[in-house]
């Protein structure tokens, strides 16, 4: 029952709305079904299956709002859920940031669902995990991996005439391969809407090569270096990331309130200012065929193709509906994912054109240090290599960095070919004067 058709979802949504006695009522159905498998030390450690559908009811009396949820669908339960939302709404204080619910909307039609992915079985998961383990058994390496897949839907309907429905699928895989003596470590990750191209063995091979290649790392002095950051060093789905942090800071209210890097001295924000290298263009597009996304935000606002940074200039910021109305701007919702425009060069091409530099597979434990400058700290991990005269010379010990994505996107040397990662399209970047502040013994 986890993935309801549009008709089945509508039947439930309409029924719930018919129980409402509130001034405004909005009902959202979220359902997903999927599973996961985890391995470590070349063995399956845990695996599980998750299947759930839930209803969220928001009821409003004037500027008072209440929310209740349930996950059973008989009339009595649904009616009680609506009543509960109404009781909570009556008890709630009036919201000074009240906005009326949205009326009918027009949405783009991304194709974010693949039958292939929705049909994953426990056997499929075990087979992919098995291929990853077998490769490491054979090479006498030690692997730890995690595969998680989801097929789901979101349906929404309110008393003002808003209707939204969409299905989606997703699979995430990541693998860390280590040499038995613990002196080499490598990593690979990938995610898919359609699992047609997923091959855990191929990804494990990449991680295994990095692990073997990183044995015997040499220490070099911390300092400012030219780096090639692979996409996994720029975005992540399990940690903060440099580009994720940058895009999270594109909130208009924080900027207008004076507490963001996009705040302007004396008040207001930096929309329209050139803050980055002119080759930097970042946008979002829920219909992009490589990273199809939900066509609506959590509050039902349509997601359109939106340019955030164009040729280094801040073009748009996202905003709540309340703040948009208050400050007289478009109420652009935050994107689900983003696309950084790039060129045609592969990571290998970027290495070839580098006289001296460092190849970074991945950055880790990334935390904010100063929100004013977006300074972040973190470390390299799972494959860091010294480049000389266009070739990888030798592995090097991991570094701690202290760097801001704003400075990074001004010190741009070259942009490679974007690839899908954590739902985004991200190119490898060559950056000069990237700041490493200390060495780490971690492998």
């Amino acid at each position: 029952m986890a993935i309801l058709s549009k008709d089945d979802a509508n039947t439930i949504l309409k029924k719930v709305l018919s129980f409402s006695k509130a001034d405004e009522c909005e009902v959202t159905l979220n359902g997903s079904s999927g599973g996961n498998i985890r391995t470590a030390r070349n063995m399956v450690s845990t695996s599980g299956a998750v299947d759930n559908v839930s209803v969220v009811v928001e009821s409003r009396f004037g500027k008072r709002s209440g929310i209740a949820t349930c996950n059973e669908f008989d009339d009595n339960t649904l009616r009680r859920c609506v009543q509960r939302a109404e009781e909570i709404a009556r008890l709630a204080p009036e919201s000074p940031e009240y906005m009326p619910m949205l009326g009918p909307q027009t949405y783009l039609q991304p194709n974010a669902f693949a039958q292939n992915t929705a049909g994953i079985t426990p056997d499929y998961r075990a087979k992919q995990a098995g291929a990853s383990i077998a490769l490491c058994d054979q090479k006498k390496l030690s692997s730890a991996a995690f595969l998680e897949d989801t097929a789901g839907f979101v349906a929404k309907r309110n008393s003002k005439g808003l209707e939204a429905y969409q299905q989606y699928t997703n699979l995430d895989f990541s693998v860390t391969v280590r040499t038995p003596d613990g002196t080499g470590s490598g990593y690979a990750m990938a995610d898919y809407t359609d699992i047609g191209k997923f091959d855990a063995g191929r990804l494990t091979q990449i991680a295994a090569d990095k692990a073997a290649g990183s044995v015997g790392a040499k220490a070099i002095e911390p300092g400012k270096y030219t780096v090639i950051l692979e996409p996994a060093a720029l975005v992540s789905n399990s940690d903060a990331s440099l580009l994720g942090a940058l895009m999270n800071a594109f909130d208009a209210r924080s900027a207008d309130e004076g507490r963001s890097f996009l705040s302007k001295k004396g008040g207001g924000n930096k929309k329209g200012e050139k803050l980055f290298d002119p080759r930097v263009t970042i946008y979002s597009d829920p219909t992009h065929p490589e990273i199809p996304d939900l066509a609506f935000a959590g509050d039902g606002r349509p997601r359109q193709k939106t340019t955030w940074i164009e040729k280094g200039v801040v073009k748009n910021m996202f905003s709540s509906r309340f703040w948009a109305q208050k400050s007289g701007i478009d109420a652009t919702p935050p994107p689900g994912a983003f696309i950084m425009e790039g060129g045609t060069q592969s990571t290998q091409d970027l290495i070839k054109s580098t006289a001296k530099g460092i190849l970074v597979t991945r950055l880790w434990y990334i935390r904010p240090v100063d929100p004013q400058t977006l300074l972040y700290t973190g470390l390299t991990r799972d494959g860091t290599f010294y480049i000389e005269n266009g070739k990888i010379k030798h592995p090097i010990k991991n570094f701690r960095f202290n760097e801001s994505p704003i400075i990074m996107l001004n010190n741009l040397e070259a942009i490679g070919r974007p690839q899908r990662l954590a739902g985004n399209l991200i190119p490898p970047l060559k950056i000069r004067d990237f700041t490493f502040t200390s060495l780490s013994d971690a492998v």
């Binding site: 996961n36 209740a68 349930c70 997703n170 999270n248 240090v369 971690a442």
Partner: protein, 551 residues
């Protein structure tokens, strides 16, 4: 759609105004606040349900089974400046069954808590165990555990926070906000998190354990913006998440601990003065705008317990989790430098002053429970003795790996629907045995920095290299606090840092730092943990200046 979460983060969190935790138990249903006061689960009913699960598991071929029937209640209040932003009450109820069949673990959970529903989950768990057994290389070996029969444990709280009317709790938050605004804050966000875990555990060893656990965390973030310069600075609350009831929010003079003379820092033990801290936070955030930017170099650091707790958590608590040490977390959180081989070498983890205990007992701590989530009675045990690593944190299926025959009782699952695994117990630095006050400690420092409150934190995947910030920083010159500093972070290596530990204050200064949301595992689970310590001195630590120029 996990991958999309990162842009759904609160922009306030991104601005550093209030670092909100990810709140795992929000997976439950949103309920009327009155529901949170409905009586705890009936142990007689639970025993019947549990027996149905255990019998079903045994009939299906399990050699061991345990069942956890759990009711997880949460309430969170959020405000900013003069308004309430959100009030959410949630309840999650269900049961998880874990089994060993053919020498392999299996787990299944259900929210159909009937004899039939729970038996079905038990059968599914056995099915999964048998399927996974086909690729298993070694059978699970559980440390023996005798059954305790029917027992119970209740957190020693004075007032259940769910019994306090919401309006009264909102008033406290708004009063704290008002104090911050009066004292110069441009913005203030505040929140109150309350948790009640009602857990019933039963196993084929013959234990039936009923537990009632409470946690509370009031917090805020204050930001001061200087429009002219465009500069802004924040200061987070110095409150501590605790395993206490609402009594934590009734300030008692005896629970206030003064920082060193000249520092304007007050720490809190078992009760918290939110209004006082909010007013002080606004003043301190304002002072940070014009405070002297630190000159990088080596300094002797004097770290307050609120700050040091996070350093202990990252550089001692995590590297000594035995599953990390063995490689089970390699693909996510990482491994550890403190391997079994490293321990055998007997190298000093820290100086002789460093005595660190693990426990699940300290009253008011987040880790305190009577029994863990696999039915082991909790205890205290040493991790580091006079600077030498003597033990790890381990559970029943790990004890044999280090040649021991009992679990440490630190197994935990964030809810009924997640499988329990090894989690960090409270890990605490023992106070100094000789009398030493904070002022006496500071008086011996020639060139140093006093840091209070935990801030930015980052550490590598084997727990060698770390960098920590803080909430407020004060220069120490010739034994005296001379003024506030800004842009301070220190970088060190775990072993060098703990070996530079010069002295720690006596037990009159001992108090907790705590964390509601320590993340581990895939899919990630959250757990709550406390770290006790007294103000402590570390010599010659590398301090960097974090100021940058952009735009």
């Amino acid at each position: 759609m996990k991958r999309r979460d990162f842009l759904e983060l609160s922009s306030l969190a991104a601005a550093g105004a209030l670092l909100l935790p990810s709140f795992p138990s929000f997976g439950g249903s949103v309920v009327d606040p009155a529901r949170l006061l409905e009586p705890v689960m009936d142990a007689t009913v639970n025993k019947r349900l549990a027996d149905a699960a255990l019998n079903a598991a045994k009939s299906a071929g399990a050699s061991y089974a345990d069942v956890r029937i759990g009711r997880y209640l949460n309430q969170s209040l959020f405000t900013r400046e003069k308004q309430v932003q959100n009030i959410v009450s949630t309840e999650s109820f269900g049961a998880g069954v874990r089994v060993i069949a053919n020498g392999t673990w299996g787990f299944a959970a259900t929210n159909t808590v009937t004899e039939a529903g729970i038996a079905k989950a038990a059968q599914l768990a056995v099915q999964i165990a048998k399927a996974n057994a086909k690729v298993q290389k070694e059978p699970v070996r559980l440390a023996p555990q005798k059954g305790y029969g029917e027992v119970s444990w209740k957190a020693p709280i004075q007032q259940n926070a769910f019994e306090v009317p919401i309006a009264q709790k909102v008033d406290v938050l708004l009063a704290a906000n008002a104090k911050a605004l009066e004292n110069g804050a441009s913005y203030v966000n505040s929140a109150l998190f309350q948790v009640n875990e009602q857990k019933y555990f039963a196993s084929t060893d013959g234990s039936y354990i009923d537990q009632d656990i409470h946690r509370i965390w009031p917090t805020f973030g204050v930001t001061v913006v200087d429009k002219q310069s465009g500069k802004f600075r924040s200061r987070q609350a110095l409150s501590v998440p605790m395993g206490l009831g609402y009594e934590y929010l009734t300030p008692k003079a005896a629970d206030k601990v003064m920082g060193p003379a000249g520092s304007d820092v007050v720490g809190y033990k078992n009760s918290y003065d939110m209004l006082e801290d909010a007013g002080r936070a606004a003043k301190q955030a304002k002072e940070k705008l014009t405070a002297k930017s630190v000159t990088p170099g080596k300094y002797d650091l004097v770290l307050d317990p609120h700050h040091l707790g996070l350093t202990i958590h990252e550089s001692v608590g995590h590297p000594l989790e035995l599953d990390r040490v063995l490689g089970y977390e390699a693909n996510f959180a990482g491994t550890s430098f403190a391997t079994l081989e490293w321990k055998k070498q007997g190298k000093p983890y820290g100086s002789k002053v460093v005595n660190i205990m693990a426990d699940k007992l300290q009253p008011g701590s987040l880790g305190a429970v009577g029994y863990d989530d696999e039915g082991v009675k909790t205890k205290q045990w040493p991790l580091i003795k006079d600077g030498i690593l003597v033990d790890y944190e381990k559970i029943r299926d790990q004890a044999h790996i280090v040649g021991q025959n009992e679990s440490d009782g630190c197994c935990y699952a964030q809810s009924w629907q997640d499988v329990q695994f090894q989690r960090m117990p409270n890990v605490s630095l023992q106070p100094g045995k000789t009398k030493l006050s904070v002022d006496e400690l500071v008086s011996g420092v020639d060139k140093g920095i006093y840091i209070a409150g935990n801030g930015s934190f980052s550490i590598d995947q084997q727990r060698y290299n770390f960098q920590f910030g803080g909430q407020v920083f004060y220069a120490i010159e010739k034994g005296k606090i001379t003024g506030m500093l800004e842009d301070v972070a220190y970088q060190a290596n775990t072993q060098e840092f703990w070996n530079s530990c010069a002295a720690t204050c006596d037990e009159s200064d001992y108090r907790f730092a705590g964390f509601f949301n320590d993340g581990k595992g895939q899919p990630s689970q959250s757990s709550a943990v406390s770290h006790g310590s007294s103000t402590t001195r570390f010599n010659g630590v590398n301090v960097i200046n974090t100021a940058r120029k952009v735009g």
